[in-house]
Every structure is written in structure tokens, then in C-alpha cells.
Symmetry: C2
Subunit: 501 residues, 2 copies
């Protein structure tokens, strides 16, 4: 049995090598690749992904998984070997349904689609991406159709990112959340907006990058196993547990972009850097779902980064780094500014309260596109209408609308947005548990100390990587199921106090 397990691990390591290399090709494309490298790069990524897919779906892997079933069943559920066999089987059964030629076609297409977006966004020209996006939608539908028997065509794409979730559950959950959030948004936006003009002065890039680095390093991000580069859209990527990288977008005329973007991506990276290193090069060495991942990034960005306690620690340092811009600003004004709630256009820059409304619009647009009740040609218009009705504001142009971020241009349509809101919900549940275990965490944060929180997250969540499903993880950590109450309580409490609701 140990030989079979060893053979499985050897095969998984080869697949992981191909995927790690593909991730580096992608990172390089986003950071440093010269423009004329794109064509071959698309081909190279497609080849690596196809080979990884071929090797993972090799019948010999299925046979090994069958042969290892008795071994798995003889072990406790949480045993790393049982988890490895279980998680590998789940992924194998999913991937074996998708033909390698399709994977290669998809990967090639998404590369050219991303390149089209890179040109279309500054040109504010949706027509440059429309044919690409039509093809992406067609490919996304074909991908879903490899998993017949779904309730909604988006379900296979949702499950892929958030195990255990489907469109019907999410539509209910999101309706419930919207019902709670909309009155809060209305109550807040009926008041005069917080003043954040001082955040929109000129903040030189080099100093923004330096202070961002200090913050993520203090959070516990290890630069010996990572690095940070600039990209138009920030992301976290991993080539191995020893190389987990983040990227940042710097806006010289807006301090909060690079700072909170860095905390967000570092939150993702802390999750990956916290995984048990014995899991290296196996399917266990990943976060357990998009939502669970987003729970970490948004916990660090918002629960930590936008708290009063964190401002108490950070603001004096910011005043030192940016004396001309901030010496006349009070700590309370800073806290209010970074928590300004407003009806805005860009999801990634949205405040905590309206953020989920952005996500729900994108989620609903994806469902409609996949169902066929909305065409790509009508998407920019539908976007504007939904923003107008749900957020009371609509983009002047597509640059701040349908072209605003690389989603849809570098990935399939479907399943890519629910994770953000699930992350907010799960993050609130996790943070409540952390505070129950260590009520002194906020006080530590006010001194710039994050080790108790990070230690708790590592012990209870990070180390396990992909061992548990999101439902199992929530149950283990919080003692109950997914639940929006802690999130609503947090939002109502924090913003009730801020806006005297």
C-alpha cells in the first residue's frame, strides 16, 4: 500500500511541477513579459496545462485511487494520507470529465482574451473584447456541459470554486444578505459622506510600496518565500509552498489602493504560506475554496486593516512617511476616510458595506449570460442598468463598467464571484471564533502585533490547506454551519457606531 501511495505522490508531484511552471508563465505575463512574447506564451501555458491535465486524468491515477480506497477507509478522516486520497479522487473525478483538447483550447483562448483586455481597457473600447468574450461564454457553457445533471448551468462552475455551493442556494443566501444590507447602505448614504479627500493627494509610489511592505511583513508574510511586484490587477500566486507571490497596483493619487490591496493579497498569501509543508506538491497544498481564501484576504484587509485598533498602530507611521499629506489629519478622520461608504463603480475599490452589492450584480450577470437570457452584446448595457438599480449609480464608460477588471477576460464566465461574498461571511464567522479564543487580539493589533491572530488562523485553518471542504472547515472552526449573522452583526455594529444609525 505504501508503494501505491508513493507512486501516487510521484505522479502528483510531476503534475504539480507542470502547474507551478504554468503559474510562473502567467505571473511573468502579468508582470514583466514584453508584448511580443504573448503569442508563444499562450501556447506554452496551454501546453503545460494540457500536459498536467493529461497526466492527472491518466487511467493509472484512477486505478491507484481505487487500489488505495481500503487504505483510505482504514485511516481516520483527518489523516493526511486519507485526505490526500480523498481530495485527489474528488479532483480526479471532476477533471476526467473534461477532454484535454478542450483544456488546451480554453487556455489558449483565455491568453489572447487577456491580451485583448489589456488593450481594450485603456482604450475604453468594449468592441475589442466582445468577440473574445462571446467565445469565452461559449467555452464556459461547454465546460459546464461536461457535467450533466446540474440544476443550473452555472452549478458545475460554482462547485469547482466553492465545493458544496450551487446557484439556488446562493441566490437565496444573497437575497437574504441584500435584504439586510440595502437598508444599511441607504441609511448611510442619506448622510453627508465621510471626507477622504486627503487620501487622494499625491502619494509617491516608492513610499507607498515601502510602507506596504512594512505592513505585510508585520502581518507575517515571509519575503524569504515570496515577493511583491506591480501589476494592473493585483493577485496572489504560488509556484510552491516556498514561493508564494503577491502583486500590487499603486495609484499615486490614492493612498488606500496599494495599502489595502497589499493587505488583501498578503491575506491570501498567509493562507498559502501557512499550509503544512508536508503537503508540498499535492492537491492538499491549496486553500480549500475560493470563499475560504477570500475569507482570509478580506479578514486581513478589512477586519484587521480597517479596524480602529489597526489605525491606531498604522496612522502615526503613515504620518511619518507622508508628513506633507497627513500631518494635519486626525486619527479619527483617517479611520472614517478608509471606511467611507459610498455608491461607487469599481468592485475592488468598494467599501465593505456596498462591496457585496457589486459581487451580487456580477454573480447575477454571470448566471444570466450562462442561462442565455443575456447576450454579450447587451452586457455593457445590462451592467449599467443593474448598477443603476442596485447601487444607484452607473458608469459613464465601459472602462469603469464591464472592462473594470480582468475577471471574464482571463477565466471562464461563471463561479468566479460568489467566493468574494462567501469570503466576507466566512471571514466574519472565523474572526468571531478567533476573538472568542483570544479576546486580546484587537488590543494586540493596536500595537502592531499580529502573531496571536496569525497563530490562531494557522492552527485552526491555514495548516490544513485543502484537507477539509469549506462546510467541514466552518463546522470545525465555528461549531456551526455557514451563517450570515456574524457578518451582519459586524457591519451593523461598526457602521452603526460610525454613522450613529
Amino acid at each position: 500500500m505504501q508503494n501505491k501511495l508513493k507512486e501516487l505522490k510521484t505522479r502528483l508531484m510531476e503534475i504539480d511541477d507542470l502547474r507551478g511552471a504554468a503559474a510562473l508563465l502567467y505571473w511573468d505575463q502579468a508582470t514583466y513579459m514584453p508584448p511580443e512574447g504573448a503569442e508563444a506564451r499562450g501556447r506554452q501555458m496551454a501546453t503545460l496545462e494540457r500536459l498536467a491535465h493529461e497526466k492527472f486524468t491518466d487511467a493509472a491515477v484512477g486505478t491507484l485511487l481505487d487500489q488505495l480506497r481500503p487504505h483510505e477507509e482504514g485511516l481516520p478522516y483527518e489523516h493526511p494520507e486519507a485526505a490526500l486520497i480523498r481530495v485527489t479522487r474528488r479532483q480526479y473525478e471532476r477533471e476526467v470529465k473534461v477532454p484535454p483538447a478542450f483544456t488546451a483550447e480554453l487556455s489558449r483562448h483565455l491568453t489572447s482574451s487577456y491580451e485583448a483586455w489589456v488593450k481594450a481597457r485603456p482604450a475604453n473600447d468594449f468592441s475589442l473584447v466582445q468577440p473574445c468574450l462571446e467565445k469565452t461564454l461559449e467555452l464556459s457553457r461547454r465546460l459546464a456541459d461536461f457535467f450533466p445533471g446540474y440544476e443550473h448551468i452555472a452549478d458545475p462552475l460554482i462547485t469547482y470554486e466553492d465545493e458544496g455551493m450551487k446557484a439556488s442556494i446562493l441566490r437565496t443566501l444573497f437575497a437574504e444578505l441584500r435584504e439586510q444590507l440595502v437598508p444599511i447602505v441607504e441609511a448611510i448614504t442619506s448622510q453627508p459622506p465621510a471626507d477622504d479627500a486627503f487620501l487622494r493627494q499625491h502619494y509617491p509610489e516608492a513610499r507607498q510600496l515601502a510602507v506596504g511592505r512594512e505592513v505585510v511583513e508585520r502581518m507575517g508574510y515571509e519575503f524569504s518565500r515570496g515577493r511583491r511586484d506591480k501589476t494592473p490587477h493585483p493577485f496572489m500566486t504560488k509556484f510552491s509552498l516556498g514561493d508564494v507571490r503577491i502583486t500590487t497596483r499603486v495609484e499615486e493619487n490614492y493612498l488606500a489602493e496599494s495599502l489595502y490591496g497589499a493587505m488583501h493579497e498578503a491575506g491570501h498569501a498567509l493562507y498559502e504560506q501557512g499550509i503544512n509543508r508536508d503537503f508540498e506538491a499535492t492537491p492538499l497544498a491549496d486553500g480549500c475554496s475560493a470563499g475560504a481564501h477570500e475569507a482570509q484576504s478580506r479578514l486581513w484587509e478589512n477586519r484587521v486593516g480597517r479596524s480602529r485598533e489597526f489605525c491606531r498602530f498604522l496612522f502615526p507611521r503613515l504620518q511619518e512617511v507622508f508628513p506633507d499629506q497627513l500631518s494635519a489629519v486626525s486619527p479619527d478622520a483617517f479611520y472614517r476616510a478608509i471606511n467611507k461608504v459610498e455608491r461607487s463603480l469599481v468592485r475592488t475599490a468598494a467599501d465593505e458595506v456596498t462591496y457585496n452589492l457589486h459581487v451580487m450584480i456580477r454573480f447575477e450577470l454571470e448566471l444570466k449570460l450562462l442561462e442565455g437570457s443575456l447576450s454579450i452584446a447587451d452586457l455593457p448595457q445590462a451592467w449599467r442598468e443593474m448598477y443603476r438599480s442596485d447601487l444607484g449609480i452607473a458608469p459613464q464608460d465601459d472602462r469603469d463598467g464591464v472592462l473594470q477588471d480582468m475577471h471574464w477576460y482571463g477565466a471562464t464566465i461563471g463561479g468566479k464571484f460568489q467566493g468574494y461574498t462567501l469570503g466576507n461571511i466566512m471571514g466574519a464567522q472565523f474572526y468571531r471564533s478567533a476573538l472568542e479564543a483570544h479576546p486580546d487580539i484587537p488590543e494586540q493589533i493596536s500595537r502592531g502585533r499580529f502573531d496571536t491572530l496569525l497563530g490562531w488562523l494557522r492552527e485552526n485553518i491555514y495548516q490544513y490547506g485543502n484537507v477539509f471542504t469549506p462546510d467541514e472547515l466552518i463546522e470545525r472552526v465555528t461549531g456551526g454551519p455557514l451563517n450570515i449573522d456574524p457578518y451582519i452583526a459586524y457591519i451593523a455594529g461598526k457602521y452603526g457606531e460610525l454613522y450613529s444609525l
Copy 2:
């Protein structure tokens, strides 16, 4: 037949994708990878190289090559399809002799060996690399032994880099060259040395990089299909014909390092960027040998960059960029300084005249290691002795001796040095032909115009990539065989004038 050819090209493209990805993994390791990424990186590179090797040596490739022989024989020798089949067969017949497991072992070992060198050089501690190097030597011997029937154990390793060459030919050629060069070196070094103290002032990195960029851009290096980054040891690498990168080492206390290093690597890159783009993703899309490649880099670095005409163009610009350092320096003093001849320790920083003596020492040490007449343990001492006897100077420590560059720590031992001197010889032959065709090239260079030279090189050499063997290329371009006379005439003429010999 066209179907067979198409199948061959499809297979070659997949192999090229794997190799392009492996090259990026390597580039990233040398430029940006965090230290803890090294372990997985070595595994990833080994996997990609093993897969590329497995796919290239697949029996189906051999069958296709056999089936395509009649097609090849029906075409003119220079026809791209004939060349593709011929060159692929030559590489196939070589690669098929090396077992995939060996390739993977070698790649893994070289990665850890490179990492060991990165630590050993600043620590000036040969013991940190000695065990690695012993293993490298053993693996190098094993590699040679996959090609039985050689005259000298280094021959298979030499042929791999420089088709048509072997130890006995090179020992004769080098003896002849040494005989001509040593009296010149002695005559020069018996005179007072040129004053290059002004090159060794503080030259801020950013301005060095900026002026280096101007120069390589003027040479014709296309940044839309390349980029430049900093590394401890400069190199050129290629991920596709649309992405040919160079790296530079900057010494803030020595102006010539980054400037001439950049011209050298850009020379390599111009060769690759000049290859017929129809050859993309095939074995034709490479320079034809180490020597032919070095001919380009050293032609641009030395024949162009260290000429009086180039100085006439460059020096006023350097005075603008570095007024504090250079305003009191005369153009003639600059020309003398960048052509200073001295007995020195570091090959990459050596002047044109002594450079080949460094190469010949390294070449001879490699032969001795491979023959078994020298052990790795005795290598630092043998290094010092040969430097003392051949160059009249010996390193105080291993940092400037056996640890001075990454050769031997990132590649096999054997076949890696003859190319530098072959490049000097071939480059002189090529340049003589270029001047015969366009006598106005020097005058153009004095005005910072390189298009006639670059056009001639592209037309006569670069576009053909790997179509011809080095011997064929020399014959086509110069009308005769490899010949040291143009190189000796150049050195004797230039330095005879400089030192009134």
C-alpha cells in the same frame, strides 16, 4: 509528406513550449525568485527538461524523420524544410543516446549546485561547492560516456556546443593562437599600463542602466521582444522569438562592467531576434553553435564597442550623463582606458588581448578534470598555478579564482569554454567580410548608426538560425574555413597602434 512534416512540427512545438517554460523558470531563478523557492524550482526545471527530452526522443519522432528522408533529399540543402529535417535528425540522434532519468538527475543536481555557488562566492568558501562539483564532474563524465567512440572524453561535450570541433583540433588551434598572443601581451605589459582610474569612480546605477539601455536600443535590440534585468552573472535567454531577454551586472564603481556587458548580451540577443520568425518553435530557431553565438556578442562588444569610431559617438553622451566623472577626460584617454591590457584575474572583465588566455586555461582545466589527471579537490590550486604561469598573476582567494563565475556550477564540465575563443576568431572573420561589403561601417558607427552592420549580419548570418553548421556558415560568409589570421591581424593592428609596438 506534408502531413508527416506537420506532425513533426506539432511535436517540435510542444517540446519547444516545454523548453521555453524551463528557460523562464531559470530566468526567474536568476532574477527574482525568493530563496526558499529553490527546492521546488529545481524539481520543476528537471521535470520540464525530462518531459521535453522524453518527447523529443520518442520513437515516433525517429519514425517521422525516417519517413521524411526522401522529402528532405528531394529539396535543396538550404530549403527550410530540408534544414528542419536535417537539424532535427542530428539533435535526435544525439539526444536519443541520453536516458531521461539521467537528464532529470543532471538538471536537479545543477540547480542545487547553482544555489551552492550563490552562497559560496560571497563567502569565498570553495568547500561549500566542492562536493557539488565532484558530482558535476562525475555526471559530466557519465554524459560523455553515452557517446562511446570518442577520441577524447571531452569531445562529445565539445561537439554538443560547437558542432565539428574536438579536443585535438582545439589544442592545436589554441597552441597556435597562444604562440601569437603571448608576445603581444608581453610587449604591451612591459609598458606602463593605460590609466583607467576614471572608469573606477562612483557611477550611480540608475544612470548606468539608462545609458546602457540607450546603447542596446540603438544597436537594434528590440525591447518590444525583450527586456533587461539585473543578475549577478549576465546572460541572454529566449522563451520564443518574440521574447529574447538579456541581463546585466552593474558595478557602481566601474563604468565598463554594465555598459560592455549589456553590449555583449545584446549581441547575443540580436542574433536570436534576427532569426527568421518562420522558424519559431523548431530546432532551427537557435544560433548555430556556442562559437557562432559568441562571435556576435564579442563582435558587438569589442569590434564595435571598443573601436575608436564608437568612442567618438559614445563618449560625448557619457560626458553628458556623468559630467562630474568624465568632463575632464579626453576621448583618447577614454579609448585607451576601455582598451587597457593587463594581466588580470577575472575572465569576463578581461581585455581583448588576454581574454583568450583565460579561456584557454579554463578549457585546459576542463580537459584535465575530465581525463582524470586533475581532481576537484586540487582544482583551486591548479587554477592558481596556471594563472601564475600563463598570465603571470594568481588570485588571492577563490572568489576571484575558481568561484569567479557560474560556469561549472550551473552546467556540466566540458565544452563550455572553447566557444568564447572560437567566437573571437569567427567574429573577426565575419567582421572582415562585413567591412569588405560595406567599407563605410566604421564611419556610420562614429555617428551612432548600426543599421548597415546589423542589416548585413541579419542577411548573412542571423536569419539562418541553426540552418547551417558553424563550418558551413563560415564558408558561406567568408569564402573559406575557420582561420585565426583576421583575429591576429586585428589584435596586432589595433594594439600595435595603441602601444606603438
